[in-house]
């Protein structure tokens, strides 16, 4: 009975041992263990002599076929191992694989999103307006005098007598103030159009983010506070912000806002034409005429507005030296953002 038990044990364990062999060494060990000269099968063959005359040929046959089975299993596994080893031999963790390649964004769109979300995190809402605007919303309501040169066909695209492609995002201010009662606090991102010839610093179609905040006591000091917060968050804590008097028809007092040059840290370099400052946006207190044009009582409400060119900000932030890249959409450009 001991013979039979041993036979079964070999029959059960051999396939497992063989199939679990991971390399030739292990497989050779398994081979020696089962069908080697001193292996388990050989030793059982030797024990055949202890069997009865009738049983001996039956078990002899069985042992032979088990040996063949094991041999073929070993051969199969050997082939598999050899194949695997061939693969393993050229294992190279530095080999390239086909992976997902970040296809990139257009930095104008990305920057516009970044600016917008920075202001929404400060509690600003988001408003949009049409790009085909009335001359009234784009100029008249914003206090542009009747003869203002910007209204000219030279500078502004018209689609008919009194409809044009908005030259700034400021008409969104008018639309919102006419529709909602103050207080309002919003940014308006979008495309703008100016009849400029395409060159390294002009695009006929570009992007702006407009800001507007109207309440009972919004002051120029708040305009400074909010925009300084923006420049610090967007360009980094070390950046300095400067407000200087300027002129826009729709704000009074008006300011031009500069940041210390991001290239030379205010020392003066070619990027800032030696001035140490870079102009980034225009702002001011909403002109009382504009409030009146929107049916808002200028004695009760006041506030500020600002507007920035998205491509310009992106150029300063990322060091892009030609605005035409933004509409060229070269993959090598997009992949960087």
């Amino acid at each position: 009975m001991k013979f039979k038990a041993e036979y079964n044990k070999i029959k059960n364990s051999a396939p497992q041992d063989i199939l679990e062999s991971q390399d030739t060494g292990e497989l050779n060990k398994a081979r020696a263990r089962y069908i080697g000269r001193k292996g388990l099968i050989s030793s059982l063959f030797k024990k055949l002599g202890e069997m009865s005359q009738e049983e001996r040929p039956i078990w002899g046959k069985k042992l032979n076929s088990l040996k063949k089975e094991i041999e073929s299993l070993i051969e199969k596994q050997r082939k598999k191992i050899e194949k695997d080893e061939l693969k393993k031999e050229i294992f190279d963790p530095t080999l390239p694989v086909e992976h997902f390649k970040y296809p990139g964004r257009n930095p104008a769109a990305r920057t516009m999103d970044e600016i917008t979300s920075l202001f929404t995190s400060m509690g600003f809402g988001v408003a949009y307006g049409p790009e085909i605007e009335t001359e009234y919303n784009n100029f008249t309501a914003l206090n542009f005098p009747k003869d203002h040169p910007a209204r000219d066909m030279q500078d502004t695209f018209y689609v008919d007598k009194d409809r044009l492609l908005r030259t700034h995002t400021s008409p969104v201010q008018i639309r919102v103030m006419k529709k909602y009662k103050p207080p309002v606090k919003l940014v308006a991102p979008g495309k703008c159009y100016r009849r400029d010839t395409l060159d390294a610093s002009h695009l006929p179609v570009f992007h702006q983010v407009e800001g507007l905040m109207i309440d009972r006591e919004i002051k120029f000091s708040h305009l400074k506070g909010v925009l300084e917060c923006f420049t610090k968050k967007y360009f980094g804590g070390k950046v300095k912000t400067r407000f200087r008097p300027s002129f826009f028809p729709f704000t009074e007092p008006s300011a031009e806002v500069d940041i210390s040059c991001t290239m030379c840290m205010g020392q003066g370099c070619s990027s800032c034409s030696g001035k140490g400052w870079l102009e980034i946006l225009g702002a001011g207190m909403v002109d009382p005429n504009v409030l009146e044009n929107c049916g808002i009582d200028k004695n009760k409400w006041q506030g500020f507005a600002f507007g920035m060119g998205v491509e310009r900000i992106a150029m300063l932030k990322y060091g892009i030296n030609d605005i035409r890249y933004f509409i060229q959409n070269d993959k090598r450009f997009l992949e960087q953002f």
Partner: protein, 671 residues
């Protein structure tokens, strides 16, 4: 405007360095663009805002500095005669239109010796960016730069007759200008004319024929006040930006019109040994500015967020030459000086106070305010569609919204869509607003293929425009294109996008398509409404886009049809605790049936426990018969209440097959 610092010193004491002066002027609102070294020392290049015509002169800039440094201004003094004396017999002056020209004056200088100017004068003019010509012209320019009042010198002997009129030009008149160009004049232009015709385009440029030359012996000097709006229109239309028009269009100081005339005459006496005839001639009246504006400290501080006292405010405004005309309680009423035509309201005065006080001194603070509620960013999920497209390997592009109408014409699209045309395009390549995004995307593809870039996949989100029933329509689209691939790959991307933003979509056969190959494309519906199209682009469209012979797939979706995801719509549902049973069925169906026909039949016959129906294999083979196709579906059955028995599932499958056979003529495939 270029301002030599040396010249400023004639009117104020300046001890600061050029860099410091530049910074201080910039902080006062006169932005200094650059400092260069001129023949007389450092020269500032100032970029004037359109409201500050008062600073278009050395005196104007000096006045700003006198405010900043609290130095007293030394205005040049010139004696002006009370007009109309001897000279009155010489000419007959006539202003035809007082609105265009409220005041016109001339002064005659005889025995002039036209030659080169003195060196100091030439150097100063050169530093101001003005080319010296001859002493007569140089003197006029010098006084213009000094006081801001443009002057003109005529050769008096070239004036025919003795009548000088200031009038609108006739429609057909022409003038040969100083720059030797002949230009047509418009009815809106103001001209100075003699008996025969125009001598000069008022406020912009003189004529060549009446110009001072080496042979000139008598100079007639002109000083006038023209309507800034007329001058600005004329200079714009003619594209003639001259030193004179720059100043007239920004409003000159009426106070200086006559003194400038006399200053120039005095200078001509020195420079060209001329003999001015005493007195002058004039017509019209110098505009008087007697504007008064009131201001209170409360309002100043309420707008600026400062804590200025009435005393300080008065001090700042006095420095700017605003004189107090009355004071009651806290209200101060001030007389606006004649050079500040831009100051009309209290808010304008507040800006002046802020300027002198210093924008940098206004302390920043954050507003105490409510959070915007009405326009609060309702998270539209469009940015997620973009994230998904990028994850599918598409690069974001932003293309020009202005495109070429011919492109649409050549693609045969003008019957399909009426584009919005630009009345005044810069060039024909940008004469319409794009009616779709695919045109720009194909151009980006073309560019990148030329640049030997690989994996040509681009998307864009943005507005598109067209006309409908005579109205302008503006819609938001998202679109993508990919080189190569087939309809199904485009569909895969489109579904990834739509499913990512939880839309109910379906795909329908195209009846007709302008852009897509009808047999390889589909209409996308969202919630049963047409939302866009996708598939293989027509060969003609691709080749007109300059991509002949290349295969492109694409897709566009109108974002207005996309329902914004409301977080309030999301409700948690527990999934089934019991195992699903999966069964595969292979069917033989008529070739004309769509997947949806079969899917829908299975779904409807499957009952509540049929969770999913997934087709994973389809083929056509002679063995299954002509006009037939084989489709294999995996069906998943599940109940949230119990473990299903295999017999129940078998019964259900029996019903499904029965229905498929009866309604659609579909049978089980024999193995």
């Amino acid at each position: 405007m270029r301002v030599p610092i040396d010249w400023l010193k004639e009117y104020i004491k300046v001890e600061k360095s050029a860099a410091k002066i530049a910074e201080d002027l910039t902080m006062l609102g006169l932005e200094v663009e650059s400092i260069t070294e001129g023949k007389t020392g450092p020269v500032l290049e100032i970029e004037l805002t359109p409201n500050r015509g008062d600073c278009a002169s050395i005196i104007g800039v000096a006045r700003e500095l006198s405010v900043k440094y609290k130095y007293e201004m030394k205005y040049p003094h010139t004696k002006v005669s009370s007009s109309e004396d001897k000279m009155g017999n010489g000419y007959q002056l006539e202003i035809e239109n007082n609105k265009c020209c409220p005041f016109y004056s001339v002064k005659l200088i005889e025995y002039v010796n036209v030659a080169k100017s003195s060196r100091w004068l030439r150097k100063r003019l050169e530093d101001c960016g003005i080319r010296p010509l001859n002493n007569a012209v140089d003197v006029c320019n010098y006084i213009m730069v000094e006081t801001g009042q443009p002057l003109h010198a005529f050769d008096a002997e070239k004036i025919k007759g003795n009548k000088i009129s200031v009038r609108k030009a006739d429609g057909g008149e022409e003038l040969l200008f100083l720059d030797k160009q002949k230009r047509k004049l418009n009815k809106d232009d103001i001209v100075i004319a003699d008996g025969e015709g125009p001598l000069a385009l008022a406020g912009v440029m003189g004529g060549l024929d009446s110009a001072v030359s080496e042979n000139t012996e008598k100079v007639l000097l002109e000083s006038a006040f023209f309507n800034p709006k007329n001058i600005s229109r004329t200079q714009k239309r003619m594209g003639l930006n001259t030193e004179a028009s720059y100043r007239f269009s920004r409003n000159v100081d009426p106070k200086w019109v006559l003194p400038s005339l006399y200053r120039a005459a005095n200078m001509l006496k020195q420079e060209c040994q001329g003999k001015p005839i005493p007195g002058h001639m004039n017509s019209g009246r110098v505009p008087q500015r007697k504007k008064k504006v009131s201001i209170t400290a409360d309002k100043v501080n309420g707008i600026l967020g400062t804590h200025l006292s009435t005393r300080e405010i008065k001090k700042y405004l006095n420095l700017l030459e605003f004189d107090i005309s009355s004071e009651e309680d806290s209200k101060i009423t001030l007389q606006v000086p004649s050079h500040r035509s831009d100051v009309e309201r209290e808010i304008d005065l507040i800006e002046e106070v802020a300027r002198v006080y210093g924008y940098d001194k206004v302390e920043s603070s954050l507003p105490e305010t409510t959070i915007e509620s009405e326009l609060l960013n309702t998270s539209d999920n469009f940015s997620r569609t973009e994230e998904i497209l990028r994850a599918c390997g598409y690069s974001e592009s932003v293309t020009n919204t202005l495109i070429d109408k011919n492109l649409l014409k050549n693609m045969g699209l003008l019957d399909e869509v009426t584009p919005v045309e630009i009345s005044n395009p810069i060039n024909v390549g940008m004469n319409i607003l794009r009616p779709g995004l695919l045109f720009g995307l194909l151009e980006v593809a073309r560019y990148n293929i030329n640049q030997k870039q690989k994996s040509i996949k681009f998307y864009e989100r943005g507005p598109v425009f067209f006309m409908r029933n005579g109205e302008y329509k503006e819609h938001k689209q998202i679109a993508f294109v990919s080189q190569g691939g087939d309809f199904y790959q485009a569909k895969k991307t489109a579904i990834s996008m739509l499913q990512g933003i939880k839309q109910e979509y379906s795909f329908k056969y195209h009846k007709k398509s302008a852009l897509f190959d009808k047999k390889r494309s589909a209409v996308i519906e969202i919630g049963g409404v047409k939302a866009g199209e996708l598939g293989c682009l027509k060969e003609m469209v691709v080749s007109e886009a300059g991509l002949s012979g290349k295969k492109f797939t694409g897709c566009f979706i109108y974002l207005e049809t996309v329902k914004p995801e409301k977080t309030s719509d999301i409700k948690f549902r527990k999934w089934s605790q019991f195992p699903s049973i999966f069964r595969d069925i292979s069917l033989v169906a008529p070739i004309g049936l769509t997947h949806f026909d079969i899917y829908d039949t299975i779904k409807k016959a499957g009952g509540g426990c049929l969770k999913e129906v997934r087709m994973y294999d389809m083929f056509i083979d002679d063995k299954i018969g002509r006009g037939k196709k084989s489709m294999t579906f995996e069906l998943e059955f599940n109940s949230p209440e119990k473990t299903l028995h295999s017999q129940e599932v078998d019964r259900r499958i029996g019903k499904i097959i029965e229905k498929l056979e009866k309604e659609k003529g579909i049978s089980l495939r024999k193995k």
